[in-house]
Protein backbone atom coordinates (compact mmCIF):
# COMPACT_ATOMS: atom_id res chain seq x y z
CA UNK A 1 0.00 0.00 0.00
CA UNK A 2 1.23 3.44 -0.99
CA UNK A 3 -0.29 5.90 1.45
CA UNK A 4 -0.27 9.68 1.69
CA UNK A 5 -1.39 10.91 5.06
CA UNK A 6 -2.44 14.41 6.16
CA UNK A 7 0.04 15.97 3.77
CA UNK A 8 0.75 19.70 3.70
CA UNK A 9 3.14 21.02 1.06
CA UNK A 10 4.56 24.50 0.79
CA UNK A 11 6.44 26.04 -2.15
CA UNK A 12 9.08 28.71 -1.57
CA UNK A 13 8.37 28.49 2.18
CA UNK A 14 5.19 30.52 1.71
CA UNK A 15 2.70 29.12 -0.78
CA UNK A 16 0.64 26.40 0.87
CA UNK A 17 -0.54 24.27 -2.06
CA UNK A 18 -1.53 20.99 -0.42
CA UNK A 19 -3.72 20.98 2.65
CA UNK A 20 -4.24 17.82 4.61
CA UNK A 21 -4.18 15.49 1.60
CA UNK A 22 -4.82 11.85 2.39
CA UNK A 23 -5.01 9.10 -0.20
CA UNK A 24 -4.17 5.45 -0.66
CA UNK A 25 -3.13 3.17 -3.47
CA UNK A 26 -3.55 -0.48 -2.45
CA UNK A 27 -1.08 -2.94 -3.98
CA UNK A 28 -2.20 -3.95 -7.46
CA UNK A 29 -5.04 -1.41 -7.66
CA UNK A 30 -5.70 1.43 -10.09
CA UNK A 31 -6.59 4.63 -8.26
CA UNK A 32 -7.60 7.83 -10.03
CA UNK A 33 -6.64 11.30 -8.83
CA UNK A 34 -8.81 13.90 -10.53
CA UNK A 35 -8.99 17.63 -10.45
CA UNK A 36 -8.84 20.77 -12.54
CA UNK A 37 -5.63 22.50 -13.55
CA UNK A 38 -3.77 23.85 -10.54
CA UNK A 39 -5.58 21.66 -8.03
CA UNK A 40 -2.29 20.22 -6.77
CA UNK A 41 -2.21 16.79 -8.42
CA UNK A 42 1.33 17.08 -9.75
CA UNK A 43 2.48 18.37 -6.39
CA UNK A 44 1.17 15.19 -4.74
CA UNK A 45 3.27 13.13 -7.16
CA UNK A 46 6.34 15.30 -6.55
CA UNK A 47 5.92 14.79 -2.83
CA UNK A 48 5.74 11.02 -3.24
CA UNK A 49 8.77 10.82 -5.54
CA UNK A 50 11.14 13.13 -3.73
CA UNK A 51 11.10 15.84 -6.39
CA UNK A 52 9.73 18.67 -4.28
CA UNK A 53 13.09 20.22 -3.49
CA UNK A 54 13.84 20.59 -7.20
CA UNK A 55 10.86 22.99 -7.18
CA UNK A 56 11.70 24.60 -3.86
CA UNK A 57 8.84 22.84 -2.20
CA UNK A 58 8.75 20.96 1.06
CA UNK A 59 6.47 18.82 3.17
CA UNK A 60 5.46 20.72 6.29
CA UNK A 61 3.08 18.21 7.78
CA UNK A 62 2.05 14.60 7.36
CA UNK A 63 3.93 12.00 5.40
CA UNK A 64 4.02 9.22 2.88
CA UNK A 65 4.49 5.54 3.51
CA UNK A 66 5.17 2.57 1.26
CA UNK A 67 4.04 -0.65 2.95
CA UNK A 68 4.16 1.23 6.26
CA UNK A 69 7.77 2.31 5.72
CA UNK A 70 8.23 6.09 5.57
CA UNK A 71 9.03 7.26 2.04
CA UNK A 72 9.18 11.02 2.46
CA UNK A 73 12.73 11.16 3.80
CA UNK A 74 14.10 9.55 0.63
CA UNK A 75 15.50 11.51 -2.29
CA UNK A 76 14.24 10.83 -5.81
CA UNK A 77 16.67 7.97 -6.59
CA UNK A 78 15.74 6.49 -3.22
CA UNK A 79 12.04 6.37 -4.08
CA UNK A 80 12.85 4.69 -7.40
CA UNK A 81 14.90 2.08 -5.56
CA UNK A 82 12.02 1.63 -3.11
CA UNK A 83 9.77 0.64 -5.99
CA UNK A 84 7.95 3.78 -7.12
CA UNK A 85 8.12 4.71 -10.79
CA UNK A 86 6.61 7.72 -12.49
CA UNK A 87 5.63 9.13 -15.83
CA UNK A 88 5.94 12.85 -15.49
CA UNK A 89 3.53 15.43 -16.82
CA UNK A 90 4.38 16.32 -20.41
CA UNK A 91 6.23 13.01 -20.97
CA UNK A 92 9.65 14.58 -20.53
CA UNK A 93 11.53 12.09 -22.64
CA UNK A 94 15.14 12.84 -23.56
CA UNK A 95 14.58 14.05 -27.09
CA UNK A 96 18.27 13.96 -28.05
CA UNK A 97 18.80 10.39 -26.89
CA UNK A 98 17.72 7.35 -28.85
CA UNK A 99 14.63 5.36 -27.92
CA UNK A 100 16.77 2.60 -26.46
CA UNK A 101 18.92 5.03 -24.49
CA UNK A 102 15.76 6.53 -23.02
CA UNK A 103 14.71 3.07 -21.88
CA UNK A 104 18.15 2.24 -20.55
CA UNK A 105 18.28 5.36 -18.44
CA UNK A 106 15.02 4.25 -16.87
CA UNK A 107 16.88 1.15 -15.75
CA UNK A 108 19.82 3.15 -14.43
CA UNK A 109 19.66 1.70 -10.94
CA UNK A 110 18.85 -1.83 -12.10
CA UNK A 111 21.46 -4.48 -12.83
CA UNK A 112 22.45 -5.61 -16.31
CA UNK A 113 20.15 -8.61 -16.34
CA UNK A 114 17.03 -6.68 -15.37
CA UNK A 115 17.85 -4.06 -17.99
CA UNK A 116 17.86 -6.75 -20.67
CA UNK A 117 14.61 -8.21 -19.32
CA UNK A 118 13.11 -4.71 -19.06
CA UNK A 119 13.98 -3.84 -22.67
CA UNK A 120 12.40 -7.08 -23.79
CA UNK A 121 9.25 -6.28 -21.85
CA UNK A 122 9.08 -2.71 -23.15
CA UNK A 123 9.47 -3.82 -26.75
CA UNK A 124 6.76 -6.45 -26.29
CA UNK A 125 4.35 -3.96 -24.76
CA UNK A 126 5.22 -1.27 -27.31
CA UNK A 127 6.20 -2.84 -30.64
CA UNK A 128 6.48 0.63 -32.24
CA UNK A 129 9.38 1.37 -29.92
CA UNK A 130 11.18 -1.80 -31.00
CA UNK A 131 11.03 -0.65 -34.62
CA UNK A 132 12.53 2.69 -33.67
CA UNK A 133 14.99 1.70 -30.98
CA UNK A 134 17.93 3.40 -32.70
CA UNK A 135 16.03 6.54 -33.62
CA UNK A 136 16.40 9.79 -31.73
CA UNK A 137 13.35 10.02 -29.47
CA UNK A 138 12.55 13.60 -30.50
CA UNK A 139 11.24 12.30 -33.80
CA UNK A 140 8.54 10.13 -32.22
CA UNK A 141 4.91 11.21 -32.38
CA UNK A 142 3.14 12.37 -29.23
CA UNK A 143 1.55 8.98 -28.63
CA UNK A 144 4.84 7.16 -29.18
CA UNK A 145 6.59 9.55 -26.80
CA UNK A 146 3.99 8.78 -24.16
CA UNK A 147 4.59 5.08 -24.65
CA UNK A 148 8.32 5.65 -24.37
CA UNK A 149 7.81 7.58 -21.14
CA UNK A 150 5.74 4.71 -19.75
CA UNK A 151 8.25 2.13 -20.96
CA UNK A 152 11.07 4.11 -19.37
CA UNK A 153 9.25 4.23 -16.05
CA UNK A 154 8.72 0.47 -16.12
CA UNK A 155 12.44 -0.23 -16.56
CA UNK A 156 13.04 0.02 -12.81
CA UNK A 157 10.31 -2.63 -12.28
CA UNK A 158 8.24 -0.42 -10.00
CA UNK A 159 5.60 -1.90 -7.71
CA UNK A 160 3.71 1.36 -7.99
CA UNK A 161 3.50 3.48 -11.10
CA UNK A 162 2.44 7.13 -10.95
CA UNK A 163 1.12 8.57 -14.21
CA UNK A 164 0.63 12.32 -14.58
CA UNK A 165 -1.99 13.09 -17.25
CA UNK A 166 -0.89 10.47 -19.76
CA UNK A 167 -3.83 11.24 -22.07
CA UNK A 168 -3.11 14.95 -22.31
CA UNK A 169 -2.94 16.14 -25.90
CA UNK A 170 -3.58 12.72 -27.42
CA UNK A 171 -6.26 11.87 -29.98
CA UNK A 172 -9.18 9.78 -28.64
CA UNK A 173 -7.96 6.63 -30.36
CA UNK A 174 -4.58 6.98 -28.67
CA UNK A 175 -6.21 7.73 -25.32
CA UNK A 176 -8.03 4.44 -25.70
CA UNK A 177 -4.72 2.71 -26.48
CA UNK A 178 -2.95 4.22 -23.47
CA UNK A 179 -5.88 3.20 -21.32
CA UNK A 180 -5.58 -0.42 -22.47
CA UNK A 181 -1.85 -0.32 -21.78
CA UNK A 182 -2.41 0.94 -18.24
CA UNK A 183 -4.85 -1.90 -17.65
CA UNK A 184 -2.30 -4.38 -19.01
CA UNK A 185 0.55 -2.99 -16.88
CA UNK A 186 -1.71 -3.18 -13.85
CA UNK A 187 -2.67 -6.74 -14.71
CA UNK A 188 1.03 -7.64 -14.69
CA UNK A 189 1.10 -6.64 -11.03
CA UNK A 190 1.82 -2.92 -10.77
CA UNK A 191 -0.31 -0.61 -8.63
CA UNK A 192 -1.24 2.57 -10.50
CA UNK A 193 -1.97 6.09 -9.34
CA UNK A 194 -3.51 7.72 -12.39
CA UNK A 195 -3.65 11.51 -12.38
CA UNK A 196 -6.06 12.77 -15.01
CA UNK A 197 -8.21 15.62 -16.14
CA UNK A 198 -9.94 13.16 -18.41
CA UNK A 199 -12.21 11.86 -15.64
CA UNK A 200 -14.26 9.48 -17.72
CA UNK A 201 -11.18 7.66 -18.97
CA UNK A 202 -9.63 7.43 -15.52
CA UNK A 203 -12.83 6.37 -13.76
CA UNK A 204 -13.52 3.72 -16.37
CA UNK A 205 -10.47 1.72 -15.28
CA UNK A 206 -9.91 2.80 -11.67
CA UNK A 207 -11.36 1.03 -8.66
CA UNK A 208 -11.25 4.13 -6.51
CA UNK A 209 -11.03 7.84 -7.13
CA UNK A 210 -10.09 11.06 -5.39
CA UNK A 211 -11.08 14.52 -6.52
CA UNK A 212 -8.88 17.47 -5.62
CA UNK A 213 -9.73 21.14 -5.60
CA UNK A 214 -7.36 23.94 -4.60
CA UNK A 215 -5.04 21.66 -2.69
CA UNK A 216 -7.64 19.62 -0.86
CA UNK A 217 -9.21 16.26 -1.43
CA UNK A 218 -12.89 17.08 -1.77
CA UNK A 219 -14.17 13.65 -2.78
CA UNK A 220 -12.98 10.18 -2.00
CA UNK A 221 -15.11 7.30 -3.22
CA UNK A 222 -15.16 4.07 -5.23
CA UNK A 223 -14.99 4.75 -8.94
CA UNK A 224 -18.52 3.60 -9.67
CA UNK A 225 -19.86 5.98 -7.04
CA UNK A 226 -17.97 8.86 -8.63
CA UNK A 227 -19.15 7.86 -12.09
CA UNK A 228 -22.74 8.03 -10.89
CA UNK A 229 -22.32 11.09 -8.74
CA UNK A 230 -24.49 13.98 -9.88
CA UNK A 231 -22.18 16.59 -8.41
CA UNK A 232 -19.29 15.29 -10.45
CA UNK A 233 -21.36 15.14 -13.59
CA UNK A 234 -22.74 18.58 -13.04
CA UNK A 235 -19.58 20.20 -11.75
CA UNK A 236 -17.35 18.90 -14.48
CA UNK A 237 -19.92 19.42 -17.18
CA UNK A 238 -20.72 22.86 -15.84
CA UNK A 239 -22.26 23.99 -19.11
CA UNK A 240 -25.35 25.77 -17.86
CA UNK A 241 -24.01 29.30 -17.38
CA UNK A 242 -21.02 29.02 -19.68
CA UNK A 243 -21.05 31.19 -22.74
CA UNK A 244 -18.30 30.46 -25.20
CA UNK A 245 -17.41 34.02 -26.08
CA UNK A 246 -13.66 34.32 -26.10
CA UNK A 247 -11.10 31.80 -27.26
CA UNK A 248 -10.11 31.18 -23.68
CA UNK A 249 -13.67 30.34 -22.77
CA UNK A 250 -13.85 27.92 -25.65
CA UNK A 251 -10.82 26.10 -24.35
CA UNK A 252 -12.23 26.11 -20.89
CA UNK A 253 -15.51 24.76 -22.11
CA UNK A 254 -13.80 21.98 -24.03
CA UNK A 255 -11.71 21.01 -21.10
CA UNK A 256 -14.72 20.72 -18.87
CA UNK A 257 -16.60 18.82 -21.47
CA UNK A 258 -13.81 16.28 -21.69
CA UNK A 259 -14.60 15.08 -18.22
CA UNK A 260 -17.54 13.09 -19.43
CA UNK A 261 -16.71 12.64 -23.06
Amino acid sequence: MLAVKNLDVVYEDVVLVLKNVTLQVPAGAIVALLGANGAGKTTVLRAITGLLDVHRGSITRGGITLDDEPLHHLDAPGTVAAGVGQVMEGRRIFTELTVEENLRIGGHAADRRSVAVGLERAYTLFPVLAERRRQVAGYLSGGEQQMLAIGRALMSRPRYLLLDEPSLGLAPRLVQHIKDLIVEINRQGTGVLLVEQNASMALSIASHGYVMETGKVVMDAPAEVLRANDDIREFYLGLSEERAVSFRDVKHYRRRKRWLS
Binding site: P77, V80, F94, M155
Partner: protein
Amino acid sequence: MTELISSGLVRGMGIGSTYALLAVGFVIIYRATGVINFAQPALMILGAYATSVFATGVGMPFPVAVLAAMAVLAAVGMATERVALRPMVGRQPFAAAMVTVGVLTVLFVVAHRLIGTQVRTVGDPWGLERASLFGVSVAQVDLAKIVVSLVAIGAVGLFLARSRLGLAMRATSMDQEVALAQGVNVGRMFSLAWGISAALAALAGMLVGTSAGGFEAITALVALKALPVIIVGGLDSIKGAVYAGLLIGIAEALTRTYQPRYAEWLGANVDVVVPYVIMIVVLAFRPYGLFGTREVERV
Protein backbone atom coordinates in the same frame (compact mmCIF):
# COMPACT_ATOMS: atom_id res chain seq x y z
CA MET B 1 57.04 22.33 -47.04
CA THR B 2 58.97 20.44 -44.40
CA GLU B 3 58.87 23.47 -42.17
CA LEU B 4 55.16 23.92 -42.75
CA ILE B 5 54.51 20.38 -41.59
CA SER B 6 56.92 20.11 -38.68
CA SER B 7 56.85 23.63 -37.20
CA GLY B 8 53.40 24.55 -38.36
CA LEU B 9 50.97 21.68 -38.49
CA VAL B 10 52.52 19.10 -36.21
CA ARG B 11 53.72 21.49 -33.55
CA GLY B 12 50.43 23.35 -33.80
CA MET B 13 48.45 20.19 -33.35
CA GLY B 14 50.68 19.33 -30.41
CA ILE B 15 49.86 22.59 -28.66
CA GLY B 16 46.28 22.47 -29.88
CA SER B 17 45.62 18.99 -28.56
CA THR B 18 46.67 20.18 -25.11
CA TYR B 19 44.17 23.03 -25.42
CA ALA B 20 41.60 20.49 -26.54
CA LEU B 21 42.17 18.41 -23.39
CA LEU B 22 41.56 21.46 -21.23
CA ALA B 23 38.60 22.57 -23.32
CA VAL B 24 36.96 19.14 -23.10
CA GLY B 25 37.28 19.46 -19.33
CA PHE B 26 35.42 22.77 -19.46
CA VAL B 27 32.73 21.31 -21.70
CA ILE B 28 32.14 18.26 -19.51
CA ILE B 29 31.61 20.36 -16.39
CA TYR B 30 29.56 22.90 -18.30
CA ARG B 31 27.27 20.25 -19.69
CA ALA B 32 26.82 18.41 -16.44
CA THR B 33 26.37 21.41 -14.16
CA GLY B 34 25.88 24.49 -16.33
CA VAL B 35 28.93 26.10 -14.74
CA ILE B 36 32.11 27.31 -16.43
CA ASN B 37 34.98 26.08 -14.34
CA PHE B 38 37.55 28.84 -14.13
CA ALA B 39 39.65 26.73 -11.73
CA GLN B 40 40.91 24.60 -14.62
CA PRO B 41 44.33 26.38 -14.87
CA ALA B 42 45.13 25.62 -11.22
CA LEU B 43 44.08 21.99 -11.64
CA MET B 44 46.34 21.77 -14.67
CA ILE B 45 49.43 23.10 -12.92
CA LEU B 46 48.79 20.94 -9.87
CA GLY B 47 48.64 18.02 -12.28
CA ALA B 48 52.02 18.97 -13.71
CA TYR B 49 53.36 19.23 -10.17
CA ALA B 50 51.95 15.85 -9.14
CA THR B 51 53.43 14.20 -12.23
CA SER B 52 56.75 15.81 -11.47
CA VAL B 53 56.71 14.55 -7.87
CA PHE B 54 55.69 11.02 -8.85
CA ALA B 55 58.06 10.72 -11.81
CA THR B 56 61.19 12.52 -10.67
CA GLY B 57 60.73 12.60 -6.87
CA VAL B 58 59.23 9.21 -6.07
CA GLY B 59 60.75 7.68 -9.18
CA MET B 60 57.71 5.88 -10.55
CA PRO B 61 57.83 4.73 -14.17
CA PHE B 62 56.55 7.62 -16.25
CA PRO B 63 53.17 6.19 -17.35
CA VAL B 64 52.42 5.13 -13.78
CA ALA B 65 53.35 8.58 -12.53
CA VAL B 66 50.97 10.16 -15.05
CA LEU B 67 48.08 7.90 -14.07
CA ALA B 68 48.77 8.51 -10.39
CA ALA B 69 48.77 12.28 -10.96
CA MET B 70 45.48 12.04 -12.85
CA ALA B 71 43.96 10.03 -10.01
CA VAL B 72 45.13 12.54 -7.39
CA LEU B 73 43.75 15.45 -9.38
CA ALA B 74 40.48 13.63 -10.00
CA ALA B 75 40.16 13.37 -6.24
CA VAL B 76 40.99 17.07 -5.83
CA GLY B 77 38.38 17.92 -8.47
CA MET B 78 35.70 15.82 -6.83
CA ALA B 79 36.46 17.24 -3.40
CA THR B 80 36.28 20.76 -4.81
CA GLU B 81 32.89 20.08 -6.35
CA ARG B 82 31.56 18.59 -3.14
CA VAL B 83 32.81 21.36 -0.85
CA ALA B 84 32.59 24.50 -2.97
CA LEU B 85 30.14 23.89 -5.80
CA ARG B 86 27.48 21.55 -4.45
CA PRO B 87 26.06 24.21 -2.14
CA MET B 88 25.59 26.38 -5.24
CA VAL B 89 23.24 23.92 -6.96
CA GLY B 90 20.07 25.71 -7.98
CA ARG B 91 21.68 29.14 -7.73
CA GLN B 92 22.64 31.41 -10.60
CA PRO B 93 25.25 29.81 -12.90
CA PHE B 94 27.06 33.13 -12.79
CA ALA B 95 27.45 32.95 -9.02
CA ALA B 96 28.72 29.39 -9.29
CA ALA B 97 31.22 30.46 -11.95
CA MET B 98 32.47 33.11 -9.54
CA VAL B 99 32.93 30.42 -6.89
CA THR B 100 35.21 28.63 -9.33
CA VAL B 101 37.26 31.83 -9.62
CA GLY B 102 37.64 31.65 -5.84
CA VAL B 103 38.69 28.02 -6.13
CA LEU B 104 41.20 29.03 -8.79
CA THR B 105 42.74 31.57 -6.42
CA VAL B 106 42.98 29.14 -3.53
CA LEU B 107 44.40 26.28 -5.59
CA PHE B 108 46.81 28.60 -7.35
CA VAL B 109 48.17 29.81 -4.01
CA VAL B 110 48.59 26.18 -2.98
CA ALA B 111 50.33 25.40 -6.29
CA HIS B 112 52.65 28.35 -5.82
CA ARG B 113 53.62 27.15 -2.33
CA LEU B 114 54.26 23.65 -3.57
CA ILE B 115 56.13 24.51 -6.74
CA GLY B 116 58.07 27.43 -5.35
CA THR B 117 59.82 29.83 -7.67
CA GLN B 118 62.17 27.48 -9.45
CA VAL B 119 61.45 25.78 -12.73
CA ARG B 120 60.51 22.11 -12.51
CA THR B 121 60.31 19.30 -14.98
CA VAL B 122 58.14 16.23 -15.20
CA GLY B 123 61.13 14.25 -16.40
CA ASP B 124 62.02 13.90 -20.01
CA PRO B 125 59.96 11.07 -21.41
CA TRP B 126 60.38 12.00 -25.06
CA GLY B 127 63.58 13.99 -25.13
CA LEU B 128 64.58 15.88 -28.22
CA GLU B 129 64.22 12.82 -30.42
CA ARG B 130 62.76 13.34 -33.79
CA ALA B 131 60.57 10.92 -35.59
CA SER B 132 59.80 10.58 -39.23
CA LEU B 133 56.27 11.17 -40.36
CA PHE B 134 55.69 10.48 -44.06
CA GLY B 135 59.31 11.32 -44.64
CA VAL B 136 59.22 14.60 -42.71
CA SER B 137 61.23 14.86 -39.53
CA VAL B 138 59.02 16.02 -36.66
CA ALA B 139 59.58 16.36 -32.92
CA GLN B 140 58.57 13.27 -31.01
CA VAL B 141 57.21 15.41 -28.20
CA ASP B 142 54.65 16.92 -30.57
CA LEU B 143 53.50 13.51 -31.74
CA ALA B 144 53.28 12.33 -28.15
CA LYS B 145 51.08 15.30 -27.24
CA ILE B 146 48.74 14.64 -30.12
CA VAL B 147 48.46 10.91 -29.50
CA VAL B 148 48.10 11.14 -25.72
CA SER B 149 45.44 13.87 -25.93
CA LEU B 150 43.39 12.30 -28.64
CA VAL B 151 43.48 8.88 -26.99
CA ALA B 152 42.37 10.38 -23.67
CA ILE B 153 39.59 12.40 -25.28
CA GLY B 154 38.54 9.38 -27.32
CA ALA B 155 38.34 7.30 -24.16
CA VAL B 156 36.17 9.91 -22.46
CA GLY B 157 33.97 10.12 -25.56
CA LEU B 158 33.54 6.35 -25.59
CA PHE B 159 32.73 6.37 -21.89
CA LEU B 160 30.04 9.01 -22.42
CA ALA B 161 28.57 7.31 -25.46
CA ARG B 162 28.60 3.69 -24.34
CA SER B 163 28.67 3.23 -20.59
CA ARG B 164 25.82 3.24 -18.11
CA LEU B 165 27.36 6.12 -16.16
CA GLY B 166 28.14 8.00 -19.36
CA LEU B 167 24.49 7.76 -20.38
CA ALA B 168 23.45 8.97 -16.96
CA MET B 169 25.83 11.92 -17.29
CA ARG B 170 24.38 12.85 -20.66
CA ALA B 171 20.85 12.52 -19.33
CA THR B 172 21.75 14.71 -16.36
CA SER B 173 23.10 17.36 -18.68
CA MET B 174 19.82 17.39 -20.62
CA ASP B 175 17.29 17.44 -17.80
CA GLN B 176 18.32 17.07 -14.18
CA GLU B 177 14.84 16.57 -12.80
CA VAL B 178 14.01 13.78 -15.22
CA ALA B 179 17.38 12.14 -14.57
CA LEU B 180 16.61 12.21 -10.84
CA ALA B 181 13.22 10.66 -11.50
CA GLN B 182 14.96 7.77 -13.29
CA GLY B 183 17.02 7.03 -10.20
CA VAL B 184 20.18 8.84 -11.31
CA ASN B 185 22.08 10.30 -8.40
CA VAL B 186 22.61 13.69 -9.99
CA GLY B 187 25.08 14.87 -7.36
CA ARG B 188 27.29 11.90 -8.15
CA MET B 189 27.20 12.88 -11.83
CA PHE B 190 28.41 16.39 -10.94
CA SER B 191 31.20 14.82 -8.94
CA LEU B 192 32.13 12.50 -11.78
CA ALA B 193 32.20 15.41 -14.24
CA TRP B 194 34.64 17.28 -11.99
CA GLY B 195 36.75 14.17 -11.52
CA ILE B 196 37.07 13.49 -15.26
CA SER B 197 37.68 17.10 -16.05
CA ALA B 198 40.40 17.51 -13.41
CA ALA B 199 42.09 14.29 -14.57
CA LEU B 200 42.17 15.64 -18.12
CA ALA B 201 43.58 18.92 -16.82
CA ALA B 202 46.31 16.95 -15.03
CA LEU B 203 47.14 15.17 -18.26
CA ALA B 204 47.33 18.52 -20.04
CA GLY B 205 49.59 19.77 -17.24
CA MET B 206 51.91 16.85 -17.79
CA LEU B 207 52.06 17.59 -21.53
CA VAL B 208 52.72 21.26 -20.94
CA GLY B 209 55.39 20.27 -18.43
CA THR B 210 57.26 18.15 -20.98
CA SER B 211 57.90 21.19 -23.16
CA ALA B 212 61.50 22.28 -23.29
CA GLY B 213 62.14 24.57 -20.34
CA GLY B 214 59.87 22.74 -17.87
CA PHE B 215 57.14 24.55 -15.95
CA GLU B 216 56.64 26.95 -13.09
CA ALA B 217 53.52 28.02 -11.21
CA ILE B 218 52.77 30.79 -13.65
CA THR B 219 52.66 28.29 -16.52
CA ALA B 220 49.10 27.73 -15.33
CA LEU B 221 48.09 30.70 -17.47
CA VAL B 222 48.50 28.53 -20.56
CA ALA B 223 45.19 26.94 -19.60
CA LEU B 224 43.39 30.24 -20.22
CA LYS B 225 43.87 29.51 -23.94
CA ALA B 226 41.13 26.95 -23.48
CA LEU B 227 38.63 29.79 -23.05
CA PRO B 228 38.80 31.04 -26.64
CA VAL B 229 38.84 27.37 -27.65
CA ILE B 230 35.51 26.60 -25.98
CA ILE B 231 33.96 29.78 -27.33
CA VAL B 232 35.09 28.89 -30.85
CA GLY B 233 34.06 25.24 -30.56
CA GLY B 234 30.80 25.88 -28.74
CA LEU B 235 30.46 25.64 -24.96
CA ASP B 236 28.56 22.39 -24.99
CA SER B 237 30.36 20.44 -27.70
CA ILE B 238 33.20 17.99 -27.11
CA LYS B 239 33.73 17.64 -30.83
CA GLY B 240 33.87 21.42 -31.04
CA ALA B 241 36.49 21.54 -28.28
CA VAL B 242 38.72 19.14 -30.21
CA TYR B 243 38.42 20.86 -33.59
CA ALA B 244 38.72 24.34 -32.13
CA GLY B 245 41.68 23.29 -29.99
CA LEU B 246 43.54 21.97 -33.00
CA LEU B 247 42.54 24.95 -35.13
CA ILE B 248 43.78 27.46 -32.59
CA GLY B 249 46.96 25.50 -31.89
CA ILE B 250 47.81 25.36 -35.58
CA ALA B 251 46.99 29.03 -36.12
CA GLU B 252 49.25 29.91 -33.22
CA ALA B 253 52.14 27.78 -34.48
CA LEU B 254 51.83 29.11 -38.02
CA THR B 255 51.86 32.66 -36.74
CA ARG B 256 54.91 31.94 -34.62
CA THR B 257 56.73 30.40 -37.58
CA TYR B 258 55.84 32.79 -40.37
CA GLN B 259 54.80 36.11 -38.88
CA PRO B 260 58.33 37.25 -37.89
CA ARG B 261 59.35 36.57 -41.46
CA TYR B 262 56.48 37.96 -43.47
CA ALA B 263 54.81 40.46 -41.17
CA GLU B 264 57.52 41.59 -38.83
CA TRP B 265 55.98 45.04 -38.52
CA LEU B 266 53.21 43.48 -36.34
CA GLY B 267 55.80 43.16 -33.57
CA ALA B 268 56.60 40.38 -31.13
CA ASN B 269 54.29 37.83 -29.48
CA VAL B 270 51.53 38.14 -32.06
CA ASP B 271 50.88 34.40 -31.72
CA VAL B 272 49.58 35.01 -28.19
CA VAL B 273 46.80 37.20 -29.55
CA VAL B 274 45.81 34.90 -32.39
CA PRO B 275 43.39 32.69 -30.39
CA TYR B 276 41.41 35.75 -29.34
CA VAL B 277 41.32 37.14 -32.86
CA ILE B 278 39.92 33.82 -34.08
CA MET B 279 37.41 33.88 -31.26
CA ILE B 280 36.15 37.34 -32.19
CA VAL B 281 35.88 36.43 -35.86
CA VAL B 282 33.96 33.23 -35.11
CA LEU B 283 31.65 34.98 -32.68
CA ALA B 284 30.78 37.53 -35.33
CA PHE B 285 29.51 34.83 -37.66
CA ARG B 286 28.46 32.06 -35.33
CA PRO B 287 27.48 33.32 -31.88
CA TYR B 288 27.13 29.78 -30.54
CA GLY B 289 30.51 28.64 -31.78
CA LEU B 290 31.26 26.26 -34.60
CA PHE B 291 29.56 23.26 -33.00
CA GLY B 292 27.56 24.79 -30.15
CA THR B 293 23.84 24.40 -29.59
CA ARG B 294 21.66 27.42 -30.03
CA GLU B 295 20.00 27.54 -26.64
CA VAL B 296 23.22 27.47 -24.65
CA GLU B 297 23.20 30.28 -22.17
CA ARG B 298 26.33 32.35 -21.93
CA VAL B 299 27.87 32.91 -18.56
